[in-house]
């Protein structure tokens, strides 16, 4: 079997409330999602971030299942935060371009879920994403973030949902789910 396998590709022909990959096969070692994303919020200063949920059969909406740490640089500053389990029912990642960004500009998004099909390990999630500079030099119109998250379940993950914190993913956004294998 190939090391990298494209399992599903979603190109949004219309605006969408979220992107979900379900019934994910457990045949791979890790999962990776690569995306280009924009949301429908028209005002550029109204930042929107990612909320990622995972689960088995259906995504978990239990805050006790998630914890995460975020590093983000925007404008001229760097910010970091840590959120303990029980606070939010998702893993957050900052930020994505919104519809006030330069035309046709969609932001980089990459997410890994390691050993996702294990039934003995809690799951580790890594996310990188960016708000693109375009022609603006305004804080939070441009920046990039890195998130390290836990999905605190030992159940195999077979569904992943990516939500914008508010508004919708803009038509033209794209997500591709890859299954990644190690060498035999």
């Amino acid at each position: 079997m190939a090391v990298w396998n494209a399992l599903s590709n979603s190109y949004l022909s219309g605006n969408a409330n979220y992107q979900e990959f379900s019934s994910i096969s457990g045949d791979y070692q890790h999962l990776c999602i690569k995306g280009l994303v924009r949301n429908t919020q028209a005002t550029i200063g109204n930042t929107r971030y990612y909320q990622v949920q995972l689960g088995n059969s259906s995504v978990s909406s239990s805050a006790g299942d998630y914890s995460y740490s975020i590093f983000f640089e925007g404008g001229g500053s760097v910010a970091a935060s840590a959120t303990a389990s029980g606070s939010n029912a998702h893993i957050q990642a900052y930020y994505m371009p919104n519809d006030g960004a330069p035309a046709n500009l969609y932001g980089y998004f990459e997410m890994w879920v390691f050993d996702y099909s294990s039934t003995s390990k809690k799951k580790q999630v890594g996310i990188s994403c960016a708000v693109n500079p375009g022609t603006s030099t305004t804080s939070y119109d441009r920046g990039e973030g890195f998130s390290s998250g836990n999905y605190l379940s030992t159940s195999a993950v077979d569904v992943i949902r990516i939500n914008p914190s508010s508004d919708q993913f803009k038509a033209g956004s794209e997500f591709t789910l890859y299954g990644v294998n190690g060498a035999d």
């Binding site: 190939a2 090391v3 990298w4 396998n5 494209a6 590709n9 190109y11 690569k34 280009l36 640089e73 404008g75 001229g76 500053s77 760097v78 330069p102 035309a103 046709n104 500009l105 969609y106 932001g107 980089y108 990459e110 990188s128 960016a130 708000v131 693109n132 500079p133 375009g134 022609t135 030099t137 441009r142 920046g143 990039e144 033209g172 794209e174 591709t176 890859y178």
Partner: protein, 173 residues
């Protein structure tokens, strides 16, 4: 057909100013450059430039966060003629810096401007001074909305022999 294909590996055999990939197919959704690089400048640090489709006009902008030894800084540039990344200069012996650049092609043949994400870094084996250790994350933009057919990596005084880059193409099915 493989989802991830190494399109070309270029190894510099003598100091070279420009590494160019041309005739890039639009059948890929994303392009990725991985490699290790060092500038021929006899200095602590050198700058590598990225340009797409031979575009040398002011159609690029970028923002980055840099760590140098124990300090950090943020830089941002409005429209300019290229994207810039640091790599070690020739002063630091034989060690090269790591390069990872991620470029969307033209997903679903849409007219997207390009969001270009890069990570570069270098740690000198022994030394803790400024420019002996750094990591750099760069969030770049190119206003071109068409397919990418050409990528140029440049260094004013050249990349040293031994620098190597591999261009990888990613498909979504």
């Amino acid at each position: 057909m493989a989802v991830c294909e190494a399109l070309k590996t270029t190894t510099i055999e003598e100091d070279t100013v420009t590494v160019s990939w041309t005739g890039i197919s639009n059948t890929y959704q994303w392009l990725e450059i991985i490699g290790y690089a060092k500038g021929a400048t006899v200095n602590t640090i050198a700058t590598m430039y990225l340009q797409l489709n031979g575009d040398t006009a002011s159609n690029y902008s970028y923002k980055n966060i840099e760590t140098f030894n124990a300090s950090w800084s943020i830089g941002q540039w409005g429209l300019t003629t290229k994207l810039s990344y640091y790599m070690p200069g020739k002063l630091w012996g034989q060690q090269s810096g790591a390069v990872h650049i991620y470029i969307p092609q033209n997903p679903a043949s849409q007219s997207h401007a390009k969001s270009i994400h890069a990570r570069t870094g270098y740690v000198r084996a022994s030394g803790s001074g400024t420019y002996e250790n750094y990591a750099m994350f760069t969030n770049g933009y190119w206003s071109g909305t068409g397919d990418i057919t050409q990528i140029d990596l440049k260094c004013d005084n050249g990349f040293v022999a031994g620098t190597q880059f591999t261009l990888i193409g990613w498909k979504d099915s």
